[in-house]
Symmetry: C2
DNA sequence: GCGCTAGCTGGAAACGTTTCCAAAACGCGC
DNA sequence: GCGCGTTTTGGAAACGTTTCCAGCTAGCGC
């Protein structure tokens, strides 16, 4: 009966209205509704009944204002249209909503200044904490906003100088790329290029692995580039590499968004991926998995990263200071999928 | 100098502190900061200066509580990992943030009961309106929550019986599928199947177009199925169709998530897409665009849909009642891309 | 110089909640 | 029946803002 609804024309039902209806004091209603403090069974019954019959819904603004806790966490993400980042958000949300937190998600579209602005907005909204995967590691506005946050901050896959109090959840990009590069050497490649993302931790770790693998194998590195993680950049970089006098025989792509452009460029050049050119991608996406032959990939558990970030936040709220967490990546040459693709139906 | 930061150890800076510092009254500070009411140039200067030097940041909870407007809109989306829906969100956010609104995004993971719960949460948070793309058209909890919202509601691609006051932005799925089906007939197909999404407006419109096209061409419909929009469902449905005694020669997929599974199933059955089996997909994704041969697709402007939904909300806020908007879809056989793919590089 | 108006200004009230404190009620032992 | 400690209760204060209203000031016409 009217449950959850505010009366059609009337004003929203307040705690005062519930108190009146139940014939009790404001304090008692609050105690019943929040479950804090002790109340008699009779009181419990009367207040619950009144609240239900009026369709009372607490005003979270007022609650947050008074209690200084909104049970809300701000999630700052650089590009919501990237399914990988979306998966991280999904994992975090699962853990957080179980713990009674709701998530305020903002999307900066890859512009650092928007990141900074959104962080400010979330803080003015009194979020209890922030989980950030910003577009930049060094943007002064973003750093300043995070450093002055005054609430727990968890950064995913970013090193934020100037925000030492932030907890971090990192991917071990090194191991995955090391294995991938070695695999390329083992299958005979000697001219291996790396198209990396922007100059931030993930790209630097991948570059380090790329360099180390070359050094250990005694193969001179072909070359690498930093750049934005976009299909356009993938097309541009791979196009350039293929047009070179002596093009690479293998290209490692430091991000799933590059794959789309890379395939496009290869198709445009009449180069057959997997035969004329070996491609290695980072992060599992259908485009790579379903390509024939499948595109070998450095994998990681995105859902798990989101969950870890959420748990780090919860730990921080509980007063602990969780250590930096480094999560595994692994290389999947996808040789088995090859067989499946060629198998019987 | 301390801009945007709250003092390291101290309490957050309130409007009272600014008033004190500037040596003026509270009301004046509020007038300066909100820009409402008139103030002398001297007052403007003093308050601005004080606010700046203290690094004042308004508390949006308090502001919302008192003024009953949060300049915030709730966006309820069923599956954030779908890049298409993410694009709609992106388009809406662009328009809304320009108009001074910020977006609270929630993700239900496709579960209607979560949708309903999140809508309630947003309303208790006093959002000024809702834009919804829920997992279900008929879920009683969702309907009830929306019907009692008390704020403007804009629904995207959904018909919500019981929420007559909602504005709607729809896709004209009919036209696109009609053209696609005709194209299949023209290229000689006579056994065309339709794998549709859940029984909601988009799937029903597609089915109507599919049926009409068949009726007009005098071709008996091969058959259709409703079902969830997931890769798994795509694989299952296409697998079943291919195993039939007399399988279809063409399959229309009513959603991009189905394509992944469809390709997988076809590969598993040793069926060559584009030769043994024609596939038509809905909504442009890299997986279809970069497939060789490219997979013909019913396109639409997702960014534009988000923008339209945002504009409908802004109109509602301004007191207008925008009519239902129906946005175009069009069929792209992608014949030209074929040529590009085979061209010189 | 006076009265009137219009623009500014200060501060109280209000928004809906939680928190705190004092008072009331209760239970229990003797 | 009384005293004491404990639980339960009601309501004032507080959270940080906007809104409202009354009062002040300055300007201006006469």
């Amino acid at each position: 009966m009217g449950e959850g609804r505010r009366p059609p024309g009337g004003k929203p039902v307040s705690i005062t209205a519930v108190a009146e209806r139940a014939g009790v004091g404001l304090g008692s209603v609050s105690r019943v509704l929040t479950g804090k403090g002790s109340v008699s069974p009779e009181m419990l019954r009367r207040v619950r009944e009144a609240a239900e019959s009026l369709g009372y819904q607490p005003n979270l603004l007022a609650r947050g204002l008074r209690s200084r806790a909104t049970n809300t966490i701000g999630f700052v993400i650089s590009d919501i249209t990237n399914p990988l980042l979306a998966a991280i958000v999904g994992g975090a949300e699962a853990v957080l909503s179980e713990a009674g937190y709701s998530v305020l998600l903002t999307n900066s579209g890859g512009r650092p200044e928007v990141d900074a602005q959104r962080i400010g907005l979330l803080l003015r909204r009194q979020v209890d904490g922030l989980i950030v995967l910003p577009a930049s590691e060094g943007d002064p506005g973003t750093i300043a906003a995070l450093a002055g946050a005054g609430v727990p901050v968890v950064a995913i896959d970013r090193e934020l100088p100037g925000v030492p109090e932030a907890s971090v959840v990192l991917s071990d990009h090194y191991t995955g790329i090391l294995a991938a590069t070695r695999h390329l050497f083992e299958t005979g490649h000697r001219r291996v290029a790396l198209v990396a993302g922007p100059d931030m931790r993930p790209a630097r770790e991948r570059l380090r692995a790329y360099s180390d693998a070359h050094a250990r194998a005694g193969v001179p590195p072909f070359g690498f580039t930093f750049g934005p993680l976009s299909p356009a950049r993938g097309a541009e970089a791979v196009g350039e590499l293929l047009r070179a006098a002596e093009p690479p025989t293998a290209i490692i792509l430091g991000g799933n968004q590059l794959l789309e452009g890379a395939i496009e460029a290869a198709q445009g050049s009449g180069v057959a991926i997997g035969r004329d050119l070996a491609l290695v991608c980072c992060d599992d996406i259908p485009l790579g998995r379903l390509h024939r032959p499948p595109i070998p990939t450095v994998m990681r558990d995105t859902d798990g990263m989101g969950r870890s970030a959420a748990r780090a936040f919860l730990a921080r709220i509980a007063g602990e200071t969780p250590p930096a967490e480094v999560m595994a990546t692994w290389f999947d040459s996808r040789a088995d999928q090859d067989r499946v693709g060629a198998g019987s139906g």
